[in-house]
């Protein structure tokens, strides 16, 4: 666990833009998040769960939503990751959460994505996952790790 100052009231906040043009920046936020959590002294297993779940979220914003932003809020007992995009939204979240369900294109599949395991991985690695998506408006995903 990190050693916090005596007055640790505000969470530490990080914000990254996720470029939606191509894959060249996908993964940057997750790698930086990982480094920051390591510097803060978090447990390696928690860091790995955050990083993998966040990467899935980043990739989803790139391949399904033209990019977005990733925010990480860190305090003593929890790490929260919030992924926001103004993409097309998810019409049926329950269906999207099913392992293997994917609307990814063949070109995305050729890069190794689009297995339909992203949201299921996020659910598995986070302690809490809330998906708030509106068709035509965008998607916000909030994950909590303890």
């Amino acid at each position: 666990m990190p050693v916090w100052g005596a007055r640790m009231s505000e969470p530490v906040r990080f914000l990254w833009q996720v470029d939606g043009d191509d894959f060249s920046s996908a993964g940057e936020a997750s790698v930086l998040a990982k480094r920051s959590l390591r510097e803060l002294g978090f447990d390696a297993e928690l860091i790995r769960r955050v990083a993998v779940a966040m990467y899935e979220g980043e990739i989803n914003m790139v391949i399904h939503a033209h990019g977005g932003e990733a925010e990480m809020l860190v305090d003593e007992d929890a790490v929260r990751v919030i992924l926001r995009d103004v993409g097309p939204g998810i019409p049926d979240v329950e269906l999207a959460m099913q392992a293997g369900y994917s609307t990814a294109t063949d070109s995305v599949r050729a890069l190794g994505f689009g297995a339909g395991m992203g949201l299921p991985n996020m659910k598995r690695f986070a302690d809490e996952l809330v998906v708030d998506s509106r068709v035509g408006e965008g998607t916000t995903i909030e994950m909590t790790f303890r």
């Binding site: 894959f23 060249s24 993964g27 890069l111 190794g112 994505f113 992203g118």
Partner: protein, 110 residues
């Protein structure tokens, strides 16, 4: 056993070996990156035929000991550059993914 010993004993080609001293303790095979992210473990040798830049991100995030490109696949230029920059060990083999996994499994069993 360290990645550099592993590479040498199995005659794997080192495309880049920025962190030769880390330990190989297991293996995982797969080309679907989400699948690998969900399943690969710390210290695994990850066998794949994927050679694009996303392999570097997945290897970093899962903390596998090394990536082993099977079937004579060569890393894309940006994968190689990223691997070098971010400390991802990248090896190669002319064996099929199937044969390579057999060799690695046998070897790790000791």
């Amino acid at each position: 056993m360290t990645v550099s010993e592993f590479a040498e004993k199995l005659s794997l080609h080192p495309f880049c070996l920025p962190v030769p001293g880390i330990n190989v303790s297991g293996g995982y095979a797969g080309d679907l990156l989400s699948w690998v992210m969900g399943k690969a473990q710390w210290g695994d040798a990850w066998v794949t035929i994927m050679s694009n830049r996303n392999v570097a991100a997945v290897a970093q995030l899962t903390e596998v000991a090394c990536v082993v490109l099977a079937e004579n696949v060569r890393p894309d230029a940006d994968l190689l550059a990223l691997a070098q920059e971010h400390g991802v060990n990248l090896l190669g083999s002319g064996l099929s993914a199937f044969a390579l996994c057999g060799v690695i499994a046998e070897f790790l069993r000791g």
